[in-house]
């Protein structure tokens, strides 16, 4: 039988770490060539994902861009050429070596503003995504796994939240709170946007729990929560990540809306604030492109990088995608 082994090309090491090509004759089965030289790196499951992760260009690119922005948000303000909110120069200066991205209508340095606002937009985006994600996942998993009356109760709750007009709610709350922070805004967005995550997670849990491997996990004595976490959730990992990314982006965008209506945080400045100010003070009409394009481009890049990273991660998590 050793001849078969030698004939199978999977046995030879290749640059990509011997991802064996399933001979596409039998459809799903990979009758031959399925012997890999994986042992070289096989010292544990976690390392294996890492092995593929560091070799995935999309993931590296997306993550790289994202890390640059995060770093800029965290340490950027300390290195900013000018204090962000101070009026440091003449108004409406074109970009120059003095002011990398020019100045606003009021004479603020756009580059410094940008660095400062990154932080707040990230904070609101992250909090919104985290809260919406956690609530949505918890409710989706419980409803999808347990089913029955609990599912119906949770479904009803989901629909109620969908129907609450969040803007009105925010106005009402805003009337009672004297001032609120970016933290509050993030949590508020999270608590009002989880339903679509919950519904999608519930539907996927429903489908996945009918798979044989879930039955097999039950036959192995595993309990519900462990099965959901170990067998069902990882199969949705890329979806969860995608949802998180979309929530991240949408939280930032929703924050822009709130900021625009004066319902945003009473202190600080975000990318949304920058856009709004540029809009309010006719940045567009005055052709001050350096005022509104950078924050818009940065937000687009931030979300796009996350999406590219997501595609890469999908390939890392799903062994079948690695092969093509």
């Amino acid at each position: 039988m050793s001849g078969v082994d030698q004939a199978a090309p999977g046995g030879t090491t290749t640059a990509r770490g011997a991802s064996p090509t399933a001979v596409p004759l039998a459809g799903a089965t990979a009758p031959a060539g399925a012997r890999g030289g994986r042992e070289a790196y096989d010292s544990g499951r976690r390392w294996e994902f890492l092995y593929f992760a560091v070799r995935n260009k999309k993931l590296l690119l997306g993550l790289g861009v994202e890390i640059i922005f995060v770093l800029a948000a965290i340490i950027g303000p300390y290195f900013a050429p000018y204090p962000a909110k101070e009026f440091v120069a003449a108004a409406a200066l074109h970009p120059s070596s003095q002011h990398l991205l020019g100045t606003t209508y009021f004479g603020q340095d756009v580059f410094s503003l940008l660095l400062d606002s990154l932080r707040e937009s990230y904070l609101v985006g992250f909090l919104g995504a985290a809260f919406a994600g956690l609530i949505g996942l918890a409710i989706g998993f419980v409803a999808g796994w347990r089913g029955g009356w609990l599912d119906e109760v949770l479904q009803t709750l989901t629909y109620i939240v969908v129907m609450i007009p969040s803007l009105v709610l925010l106005i009402v709350i805003g009337a009672y709170l004297k001032s609120h922070s970016a933290f509050f805004e993030g949590v508020f967005i999270g608590v009002t946007t989880w339903p679509w995550v919950a519904r999608a997670v519930r539907a996927q849990t429903f489908t996945l729990r009918q798979r044989d491997f879930v039955d097999l996990a039950r036959l192995s004595g595993k309990r519900g929560p462990a099965i959901v976490l170990k067998d069902i959730a990882p199969n949705m990992a890329s979806y969860i990540l995608l949802a998180f990314i979309l929530l991240f982006g949408s939280s930032m965008l929703i924050a822009v809306n709130y900021d625009f209506l004066g319902l945003g945080p009473t202190n600080g400045i975000s990318l949304g604030d920058m856009l709004n100010l540029a809009e309010l003070w006719s940045g567009l009409q005055l052709h001050m492109w350096w005022w509104f394009i950078p924050p818009g481009a940065v937000m687009t890049l931030m979300v796009a990088a996350l999406l590219v990273a997501n595609v890469g991660l999908d390939e890392v998590f799903n062994p079948k995608l690695r092969e093509t």
Partner: protein, 358 residues
């Protein structure tokens, strides 16, 4: 001669290089013949069937010619083939039952298909209804959605649709494998009936199930790892196979009436070779209990007995030697003869099984 295929080679493009799924295949199907094409998954039988009607993106026509009713079939020219599809060559694809678009009624599906061939459903409607009734489908099946039909009904519906234009050649790819026994029988008998009624001139029935072929096929052709290994009339193939692969395959089939305590069947140890870089010589060599030094040479697909083609050096020797003839007959009769043959074959197979498991 309805269909004749000359040295056909089809490859699959993969990232690792081309996979020779069909590697130099030559055969013919006569008018009114039902030819069974058998083999294990991955042997290239479906690729061969598909290549006669549709060479999809990943497939590549490497060489060889196909002739249907005396005219060349331009299999590698997708455009030109369009004219022949359904009219001259038709197929019941694998998984056809689940491939039906669930949002379209059966009638709409038939209509769309005919339209793509430049025909009107209305023209053939009376004939369509007649055949629907013949296969035992309700008259209003045209108004039904695929999900309203059971597996057996769907399979019969696809049969009727794909043979509406009375093609010269029908390729039936695993049409019975997902069905229950009673539906298997009904569909199998319908296939022969379609031939008898002249709806289809000749047929290639692709299946992994030799016992179905024993029921409905006139001739059986066996493929292994992209090559033809044996072709003979159905009865010869079942009762007096010459190729060791066919013999092993037949003796591994449980039949009603066979119980483990009476006769323990044996499988074939090992796996088919990778088609990415197949080893030279006979491709069954690694798993063959009779393999000897000559097998490193590629055995030609030769006609050893009238109407019986085999690609095996040993079979050729046996037939030529005459003395081997009796031996073959003895070892080839699976039900009665396996007992006689096992003293010679059993140990070697057993030894190989042990080797494979270590």
């Amino acid at each position: 001669m309805s269909l004749s295929v000359e040295n056909l080679r089809i490859a699959y493009r993969t990232l690792r290089g081309d996979v020779q799924a069909v590697d130099g295949v030559t055969f013919a199907v006569a008018d009114r013949e039902i030819m069974g094409l058998a083999g294990e998954s991955g042997c290239g039988k479906s690729t061969l069937g598909n290549s006669l009607i549709f060479i999809e993106g990943r497939m590549k026509h490497v060489g060889g010619t196909v002739e249907l009713d005396g005219k060349a079939l331009p299999i590698s020219d997708d455009r030109a083939m369009n004219h022949h599809r359904m009219r001259d060559v038709s197929i019941i694809p694998q998984y056809a039952m689940s491939a039906l678009n669930p949002t379209k009624k059966v009638g709409t599906l038939a209509h769309d298909l005919l339209k793509s061939r430049g025909m009107k459903l209305a023209k053939v409607l009376p004939e369509f209804r007649r055949r629907v009734a013949l296969v035992g489908l309700p008259e209003n099946v045209l108004e039904m959605y695929p999900f309203e039909l059971s597996g057996g009904m769907r399979q019969r519906a696809t049969m009727v649709i794909s043979t509406l234009l009375n093609p010269s050649l029908l390729i039936a790819d695993e049409v019975t494998s997902a069905l229950d026994v009673s539906n298997q029988r009904a569909v199998g008998e319908l296939l022969t009936e379609f031939r008898d009624l002249g709806y289809v001139k000749s047929m290639i029935v692709i299946t992994h199930d030799l016992s179905i072929l024993a029921q409905i096929a006139d001739t059986i052709m066996v493929m292994y790892a992209g090559k033809l290994t044996e072709k003979a009339s159905a009865s010869t193939m079942i009762d007096k196979p010459l190729h060791p692969y066919t013999q092993a395959l037949l003796s591994s089939l449980p039949e009603v009436g066979v119980r483990y305590e009476d006769r323990e069947l044996t499988g074939i140890p090992g796996r088919p070779p990778s088609l990415l870089s197949p080893p030279p010589g006979c491709r069954f060599r690694e798993r063959c209990p009779f393999a000897y030094d000559k097998c490193v040479e590629d055995p030609p697909f030769m006609e050893l007995l009238p109407g019986h083609q085999v690609a095996c050096w040993k079979a050729a020797d046996d037939v030529a030697g005459g003395a081997g003839r009796e031996h073959n007959e003895a070892s080839a009769t699976p039900s009665g003869g396996a007992g006689d043959a096992s003293p010679e074959r059993g140990p070697s197979l057993g030894a190989r099984a042990g080797k494979g498991a270590e």
